[in-house]
Subunit: 403 residues, 3 copies
């Protein structure tokens, strides 16, 4: 049987023997994928292969296109380091090292494509069980400046449906978009370091029964840390989501998902946003911390939302917000609109939402729960005093003040 | 020192040189285990070995018997794909591939045994730290039809006590029983895809201090997704448990376990069943979704329970059900018994159970909590209206309606 | 390019060709690290390397010093077994094996140092993305007796700040201190077996945005299972923390951390201790079990705290304790002070703490919540009867009894 184990450092492209993984790991991987196809011509047996990426500094000039199932690309090091700190540090000529490392793929496409890795195939079945493990995708730099989070680069993108895709142990840094997955089923994103990207994880199109657990995540001021649209049955649990994403978790038109046992830290309002028709989601046992921007280089930026938006904003019906802790510690002078009473949870629309036993510790007077006038039959229990609760005219609700 | 690194594709059985991993990976692994024993004769140093299974299509004709500690069997690909969809898809002649892949072991015993992998040893100490990682166990087909979930095959079974067993990153598909572990201590089942098996995870005999976290799990209509009996100190957290198991998590005679931060989705009542003497368990921060069967090929099946059984049914005392979300969306015509008011949480027996701040979003009128007449001193707080609460004659309780 | 893949069993130290990984794996690894530095002289490209430790029995005589970023040390087996059971078992001459295994490093320093692995570097930047994976650190024995948890040995210690350090899949056993990390940022400790050490995980100095998830942990009677000081944004979730640590999780002067969805089991009071100035932490959806010591060899020991200390003791303000289950099952004769009513949650100081919907199942009468006289504006909701609540003179609070 032909080997199913490949090493990018020892592979030679038959038609281009001078290309190496150091000069274009994308061309190397694509050539390996072609070889795998040649070796597995039969529909009845296509087990795929593993492509190993040893620790090293690799340039990717050509987009990798994964159009076979069961391909595993595995490195030996997530290699994350803070490029943001380094770029803002001034003279780094005396530093031990200045770049990310591990099995580091520098995303430097010269092929006109945005993606380092594209997952796409037409026909049936959906691509299954592709695995991306333990390497680093580094966008290297942003333009026009290193705090812009912009460079047009995408780390991993799928444009057709997948089943049981696994992304584990990666480091993803300084990309405009880290991971963009379309029409996911049973997607498993676990144990990654996905930080200092414009957006980190975007689950687009639609999706079901997926998992984003135990990751370190932190996006740019205009991007998503975790975004999902038209998703159903997603679990987001056990993550540590840092600033400074424009949100921590953003659901759009998504029903029956769960966001639990996460630690969420943000510099702006709108930490969890349920946009559009978001029904029957659970937001439970999470820790929220909202403070002002602390990094001098970034103090000029925000997500554009004001403090009336809510740390959590719900649109839709039947959602549950229970057992969360909210810390709000923003100097009065930084609150917008000026003089406003900040909102912790805003129920913006819908009926039958349930908000109970959430505790807020704040440095200023806040509204722990605000109900839009359009909302129907919200339950608000033990989330603060009567003075901390605000129901706009027209809202119907059951309210019990914390004694 | 003899090498402790083995590759199933390069090993030859001295007495059977024509056998390969492709013809019988079980015989190959057993021969390797014999070699490990020969090389580690001294009680004072038996560190074990790693057996690598590269991506490939392997047939297992002979049961693997693991009777040494510290054996790691590791593949490079969990290889799950939905065989259920494929078998029900009609003509698949045009499909890219039709089988699971990765490091795929086809469970095709010809030795009269049910198991692909048996873990068993008499004497002391218990087998420790066996690790099964990142490969695929594929039962290939069910009989008499592909929707029966029956074929008599078991993926991994232990029949003697183990300590610190680790099962991580596997794909397990189309087996009648995926994992059956007896008398587990500090068992760690994490990050697996265990779907489309009759039963997925069964922890039998007894057990303590074990963990089932971050898995994708979905059993057949008559099997268990996660089952534990006589267990103590089990944590089931962060899992995404799909249909169509006859339950999502089933505890029997088990005390002081915790089921938290999971996403549970089912087509039948009885999602979490605490059977027999189940005391002092926590069911917290989980998302439950109960809908009717959606796959046309499976609409004729069920687990046989009716809608009065409860999505959660507690038997035993001192249990805690707090901070969960329940979605119930079943057409009235599908509810059994006909015309019944479905039950969300049924406290069937016991005293001092505590059911609080659970929110139900339902498409029909439901009883959010029902107390059997035998139950004593249950607390039911903020789980719905008085009309949604039902205490049968004889029950004693404290109740507070959601305002 | 020089290889970045090293194997400890094939490396020779140029100046000491007789040293092997079996005689001193520390000297071997240090020599490899020196080679990595020689091969990566340029600040602009230091991707690091992977050092592989096959299954085997290795002695560490010389401390490993990691002073480069992106180094991955990876084994093939966590190798944990209970040495405590074995040492207390009497005659083990008939046992199959008697020691831990896997990729087992015996910590047997002869260099005068306490650590097996020291992570330390001066200058900028912080060491990043060091990864320690899937091997075993075994302290071999305690002195003066095998139940003392004392031997002066430390498994992994960092003394300078790190970023994105990953510790995953290790077995750590019979060390006085398992892991001691100074000034952590984005530390990721996941999926390890860290048991039967004096202390298991100590996060010292300061730290932020770190994660301790999905581990099996159990310390000695005078040590920490999980300890963090001056930490901010730590998540401790999904762990199974066994006895017999003097605490399960101990925070000191730490603010805005979260302890959720864990299973905690202890033989003493003081399971979660928030010491000093601990503000705005969340303790949610955890399962607590407090029983007496069950192992005859250990019944003489304790952590010295009495049953008035609280299973949870809070010092500080704005903390949230919500949705937890507490099992307390201690014979009356074992309770100290004799005749005392045990305390479940003690709010010892601070203002604006919030304790709600926690359920206690106890074999004796307990105080579910006790407020020190110094405490201000604590909220205690649905945590038991009026008789189970105790507010010492001077305390101010809102209280609602479970109906």
């Amino acid at each position: 049987m032909p080997s199913t184990i490949y090493d990018v450092t020892t592979w030679t492209i038959p038609a281009s023997p001078s290309t190496t993984a150091y000069t274009d790991i994308g061309a190397i991987v694509n050539s390996i994928i072609a070889d795998i196809k040649t070796n597995q011509p039969t529909q009845a047996s296509k087990p795929g292969a593993v492509i190993y990426v040893p620790p090293g500094d690799y340039s990717l000039k050509t987009r990798i296109v994964i159009d076979i199932s069961y391909l595993q690309i595995k490195g030996s090091g997530h290699g994350f380091t803070s490029s943001s700190i380094r770029y803002n540090a001034g003279d780094t000529s005396g530093w031990h090292e200045i770049w990310p490392g591990g099995s580091r793929i520098r995303v430097e496409n010269t092929d006109g494509n945005a993606e380092a890795i594209l997952i796409s195939r037409s026909g049936d079945p959906r691509l299954s069980s592709i695995e991306l493990l333990d390497f680093c995708l580094d966008g290297v730099s942003f333009t026009p400046n290193q705090n812009s989070y912009l460079n047009g680069k995408i780390g991993i993108r799928s444009t057709t449906a997948t089943d049981s895709l696994r992304i584990r142990g990666l480091g993803i840094v300084y990309l405009e978009r880290g991971i963009v997955i379309t029409d996911a089923d049973a997607l498993h994103i676990q144990g990654n370091f996905i930080c200092e990207n414009g957006s980190c994880i975007e689950l687009v199109g639609s999706g079901q029964a997926s998992m984003v657990n135990d990751n370190m995540i932190g996006a740019g001021y205009v991007g998503f840390s975790v975004y999902a649209e038209n998703h159903f049955g997603l679990i987001v649990s056990g993550n540590n989501i840092f600033p400074r994403g424009k949100s921590s978790v953003h659901l759009k038109n998504s029903t029956n998902n769960t966001i639990s046992a996460n630690r969420l830290h943000a510099f702006y309002p709108g930490m969890i946003q349920c946009e559009g028709a978001c029904h029957n989601n659970l937001i439970g046992s999470n820790h929220f911390l909202r403070v002002p921007e602390s990094f001098p280089a970034m103090t000029g930026f925000s997500n554009g939302l004001d403090d009336l938006f809510g740390l959590v904003q719900l649109n839709g019906s039947g959602n549950t917000v229970v057992g969360n802790h909210f810390s709000y510690d923003v100097p009065a002078a930084n609150i917008t609109p000026s003089g406003a009473t900040p909102t912790i949870v805003l129920v913006k629309s819908g009926s039958n939402n349930y908000v109970a036993t959430n505790h807020t510790a704040a440095n200023v007077a806040v509204h722990t729960v605000v109900l839009d006038g359009s909302t129907v039959n919200t339950k608000v229990l033990d989330c603060g005093t009567t003075a901390e609760f605000q129901a706009l005219t027209g809202a119907t609700y059951g309210f019990r003040a914390t004694p």
